[in-house]
């Protein structure tokens, strides 16, 4: 009998405590204030430059967007639409500033454009010199064994040499006559002389002035190639052009 009584007592006590505590909380809460009036919306603005780095003299595109603005201007450009884009060509590095004004206030946005100097003017070497043109365009003339006649397969090279040398009439040059290693030293020097003069004569016939041309024979004294086979010998049987001035 005693147990249930205790239980009831504890339950009543707990309920009573909850009620008392709850009555105290309600008494502490203040009354809510009245809601403030909504402020006018502030303007937003963004500005970008594309590209942001250009060479001097190149155009860039400025693009901008605003909201809540009634009056938009870009420094140095003037009033603009509330959003849009425009090409400009800054002469120096510039920071563009957009100002957007509206009932809600003023908002700035900036965009920086870096203007680089153009690359230095191309050095004179970039345009080929006459000597370079000479070595790029003038083709050596190759010969048959023990022969100083301009052979048929060399006529095209000969003609191209003539055309180039007539076009560049200021160039003076030497034609070296070379021979392969076979045969005798003295005879090859005479043969090399024949080869150099054969090339010279063909040029002169083609209209190249003879006083621009020197000839020299190296016989087999200064070979281009020193192996003992036909491929190498052919390399050495030639009239070789050398730029002089």
């Amino acid at each position: 009998v005693k147990q249930p009584t205790l239980k009831w007592f504890m339950l009543v006590f707990a309920l009573g405590a909850i009620m008392i505590l709850g009555a105290c909380h309600k008494k502490a809460a203040p009354p809510p204030p009245p809601p403030p009036p909504p402020p006018p919306a502030a303007p937003t603005a963004s500005l970008s430059a594309s590209p942001d780095t250009v060479e001097k003299g190149q155009p860039i595109t400025l693009s901008w967007q605003t909201t809540n603005a009634t009056d938009v201007s870009i420094e140095g450009i003037g009033a603009v639409q509330t959003s849009g884009s425009q090409q400009v060509t800054p002469s120096d590095s510039t920071t563009y500033t957009l100002t957007a004004k509206g009932p809600g206030g003023t908002q700035d946005a900036t965009a920086r454009v870096t203007v680089t100097s153009p690359p230095p003017p191309p050095p004179p070497a970039a345009s080929p010199t006459e000597e370079e043109l000479f070595s790029q365009n003038v083709k050596d003339i190759y010969f048959d064994y023990d022969n100083a006649a301009i052979r048929a397969d060399q006529q095209a090279a000969m003609q191209s040499d003539i055309d180039f040398l007539k076009e560049h009439s200021g160039i003076k040059f030497t034609i070296e006559g070379h021979c392969d290693e076979r045969g005798s030293t003295e005879y090859n020097l005479a043969l090399g002389d024949n080869r150099a003069n054969a090339v010279k004569n063909a040029l002169v016939q083609g209209g190249v002035s003879a006083d621009r041309i020197k000839t020299i024979s190296y016989g087999k004294e200064k070979p281009f190639c020193t192996e003992s086979n036909e491929q190498c010998w052919q390399q050495n049987r030639r009239g070789h052009f050398v730029y002089q001035q």
Binding site: D146, S184, E186, Y187, A190, L191, D193, N194, T215, I216
Partner: protein, 492 residues
């Protein structure tokens, strides 16, 4: 197949034993048997017209009689056929003083003397291992029967002594006909000079030349002659000089360029050569008296291969001053230029008839591959000497009868044979091959005795200078250092 034709190649004539022989062949023997007395004078003397005509008749006879196979055999077997060479013993010289230098100088002297006599080609050198014991330094030491009996079996004996006293050396030398004990002395000489190995070598050369002159029927010795040549080292080619036996090699030019084709004047005082300068190839002149270059006119174009006339007054050379290489004559000072040839293509490498000075042989490419031609010195009477192949570098013999030149007879890929030396009898254009498939052989030049030829050959693996007897035997290498080419033998 070539025939070797009869000619006035040296007779071996001994004044005591009356030896007589020809170096080369039986056909010559035949001609010798019917020969006239003038022929016995040796190769350096110009035969009379009468004797020349006789010679040609005999030559013709020789050709008709000699079978090709026999001719080939003779050439291959060399100088001994049909001729007995003189058996000569050369005893080492004996010191005559106590000086410490004697040993080295004796070695130099003995080696030089032996080589000179061996190189002469007219002796059979008796091997020193057969000699009797004991040195002989004076006539009293000679025991005749020991030298004449087997094994030495010598006909001639060379002996003597050498001694240094202070700064000088004295050499006494004898040549004995040991088979004639009653009157044995053929030669007795005494020399005195500075006690240097150079001086001793020159004494040996002089003594050897005396012996060769006496026993060779008057042929001039070559032991004191010089050879000029081109040495290639470090990318440059300079002109060098050496004694005939390869000793005493020394550089003449220091041009740092490419210098080629040295050709010494008949008196030995100047060396003409071709050199590459900035504008091209020019003829240059080196004075062996002044030991420096002397001025010579420069001609336009490529100027090559100068060659002295036998009287030393003119030079023939190749010049492309007209735009094509042609043969020109000019006097020794470079004036009075005169053109001899006029034909498209290379004309180069002239050589004078060393006996008459009235003809020039040279190389021309007027028909394609180079061939040998001859002409008179006024440019007329052009005759082609070679009929095929690649023929270059002619050299005219001192007796005027022969050309020796380099010839690739069968030219073309896979063709047999290489560049070999050939000897041609000018009158008949008959020829004989002197070298046989031993490397490339080029630029022959005659010794003053007309019996030796110096040339360049690659047979040892690199281009070097060799000499041989004019029948192709006794080849001997003279240079070994660097690359050496284009030898030119002095005229005396």
């Amino acid at each position: 197949m070539g025939y070797f034709l009869g000619q006035e190649f040296p007779f071996i004539q001994k004044n005591v034993g009356n030896w007589r022989g020809l170096l080369y062949r039986r056909t010559i023997h035949r001609y010798n048997d019917t020969g006239t007395p003038e022929r016995m004078n040796g190769s350096r003397h110009r035969p009379s017209h009468h004797s020349l005509r006789w010679s040609w008749l005999c030559l013709l006879l020789a050709v008709l009689l000699a079978l090709p196979a026999v001719a080939q055999d003779w050439i291959r077997t060399g100088t001994g056929l049909g001729v007995e060479k003189i058996r000569i013993a050369v005893a080492d010289f004996k010191p005559s003083t106590q000086d410490a230098q004697n040993t080295d100088l004796l070695k130099t002297f003995n080696d030089t003397l032996w080589n000179d006599l061996d190189n002469a080609g007219i002796f059979e050198m008796v091997s020193k291992s057969f000699y009797p014991l004991g040195q002989i330094g004076a006539p009293a030491d000679v025991q005749f029967e020991k030298w004449t009996s087997t094994p030495p079996n010598a006909s001639m004996l060379v002996f003597g002594n050498l001694g240094v006293t202070g700064n000088s050396v004295v050499v006494q030398g004898w040549l004995y006909d040991v088979k004639n004990p009653v009157q044995p002395q053929v030669l007795g000489k005494q020399y005195q000079d500075a006690a240097t190995s150079d001086a001793v070598r020159i004494i040996a050369h002089k003594f050897a030349d005396e012996i060769i002159f006496r026993l060779g029927g008057g042929i001039p010795g070559i032991a004191e002659s010089k050879i000029f040549f081109v040495r290639s080292e470090g990318g440059h080619k300079e002109i060098w000089e050496m004694d005939y036996d390869g000793a005493n090699q020394h550089q003449l030019t220091h041009l740092g360029s490419i210098s080629l084709s040295p050709h010494v004047s008949p008196d030995g005082s100047r060396v003409a050569f071709s050199s590459l300068v900035k504008g091209g190839w020019v003829i240059m002149m080196y004075s062996t008296d002044l030991n420096r270059l002397v001025s010579f006119p420069r001609f336009a174009g490529t100027n090559l291969s100068p060659a002295w006339s036998p009287d030393g007054t003119r030079l023939a050379f190749s010049s492309s001053r007209s735009g094509d290489p042609e043969i020109y004559l000019v006097d020794a000072l470079g004036t009075n230029l005169k053109r001899l040839t006029d034909f498209k293509g290379p004309d180069v490498s002239p050589t004078w008839n060393h006996k008459t000075g009235a003809q020039i042989a040279w190389v021309s490419g007027r028909t394609g591959l180079p061939q040998i031609y001859t002409m008179d010195t006024d440019g007329v009477n052009v005759q082609r000497m070679t009929d095929q192949g690649y023929a270059v570098s002619p050299a005219w013999s001192p007796n005027g009868q022969f050309l020796v030149f380099s010839w690739i007879r069968h030219y073309g890929p896979g063709a047999p044979g290489g560049a070999d030396l050939y000897l041609m009898d000018i009158a008949s254009k008959q020829w004989v091959q002197l070298t046989h498939d031993e490397g490339r052989n080029d630029f022959p030049s005659w010794a003053p005795d007309g019996r030796h030829i110096v040339f360049q050959s690659s047979r040892s693996g690199s281009e070097q200078i060799w000499m041989m007897l004019a029948d192709g035997t006794n080849a001997k290498q003279l240079t070994t250092s660097g690359h050496n080419t284009q030898p030119n033998w002095s005229w005396k």
